[in-house]
């Protein structure tokens, strides 16, 4: 793999082949974040594209003060959150955390829970129902393998909040899983 600094300097001087290499390297990171946060297939590809175009335009201002992956994730997070704010209108994104108590009161009947063919699909389905900030920390920590400090840098949430959201999200998912297994 080529040195990241070398690739960046090639991209800044207009080398699109080098940029293609960078996109391929970080496409999973961006796709996972956008898909998990936005949850709309039609918007996903456009938003992922938007993120990489922003990366291309602003790469010259990247000063290597953080990892490139953290910087790209920061752009992806900002783009997704702005999109969600636009889509959800006046409703604040933290409102769904306030509502999250209702998450326990499942509307699903045991029959439909039983019909979930495998645990993995069931858990991913349940993640989609979590509040956006929970989905964010789960994705960044478990899928993208960022540390708590890096997640703090990406989302701007204090480390304590990141941990708290992560533990609560996992506890909720565990309870759902327990509920599902009981019916099986």
């Amino acid at each position: 793999m080529q040195n990241e600094e070398e690739i960046i300097s090639r991209i800044v001087s207009g080398d699109l082949i080098a940029f293609k290499i960078l996109v391929k390297q970080y496409e999973k990171l961006v796709t996972f974040m956008i898909c998990r946060l936005v949850q709309n297939e039609e918007d996903t590809k456009d938003l992922c594209q938007e993120v990489f175009i922003k990366v291309y335009r602003h790469l010259g201002s990247f000063k290597f003060q953080s990892k490139l992956s953290t910087w790209i994730a920061q752009i992806a997070y900002g783009t997704a959150i702005n999109h969600l704010k636009k889509v959800s209108g006046k409703r604040s994104l933290t409102d769904d955390i306030a509502d999250f108590e209702n998450y326990h009161k499942t509307t699903e009947d045991p029959e439909s829970i039983l019909s979930k063919k495998n645990t993995s699909a069931f858990i991913h389905q349940q993640i989609e129902k979590l509040p956006v900030h929970y989905r964010t920390v789960l994705t960044l920590y478990h899928l993208n393998e960022f540390s708590y400090q890096e997640i703090e840098g990406i989302t701007g949430m204090p480390e304590g909040t990141v941990k708290n959201y992560l533990f609560r999200a996992r506890k909720l998912l565990k309870e759902k899983l327990e509920h599902c297994i009981q019916y099986q």
Binding site: K20, K28, L138, H142
Partner: protein, 141 residues
């Protein structure tokens, strides 16, 4: 994503149990097994997210944006050159012969609508030409 090692799983479990206890939650016997299963699944890439190929489309979009920018830059340059040409012609004629300038201005004043019409026609032909070329290029691709 990489598979979680036994050590990583243990560490995650310890952290989770510690937090659960801090929040006053009772830990049941089968919690460890459930969390283990959960952590393993959380590290697996969702299958629906694996097939998006971005590199090609992003680079195409960047190229299109660059072309647009270049075209705007070119058009601005043309406008600037025309304005500079008109201004220098004005001052040059005024310097050489103010009478000639007056009669030129009178001519423009008299036939202004015809001149406006000619300029508009020229502009429309240019725009139509660009659009038609773009369409025919798109069809040939």
């Amino acid at each position: 994503m990489k598979e979680l090692s036994e050590e990583e799983l243990k560490q995650l479990l310890e952290e989770q149990f510690e937090q659960d206890k801090n929040q006053g939650a009772l830990c049941k016997d089968d919690d460890a097994a459930l969390y283990r299963l959960l952590f393993t699944v959380l590290a697996v890439e969702p299958s629906t997210l694996q097939n998006i190929d971005l590199a090609e489309s992003v680079v195409e979009q960047i190229k299109t944006d660059e072309l647009k920018k270049e075209s705007i830059r070119y058009n601005l340059l043309v406008v600037l050159v025309i304005i500079a040409g008109i201004l220098s012609a004005y001052f040059a004629i005024n310097y050489i012969s103010p009478v000639a300038l007056n009669s030129a201005l009178n001519f423009i004043e008299t036939y202004r609508w015809i001149l406006v019409f000619i300029i508009l026609c020229f502009g429309i032909i240019q725009i139509a030409d660009k659009k038609l070329v773009k369409k025919s290029l798109a069809i040939s691709h």
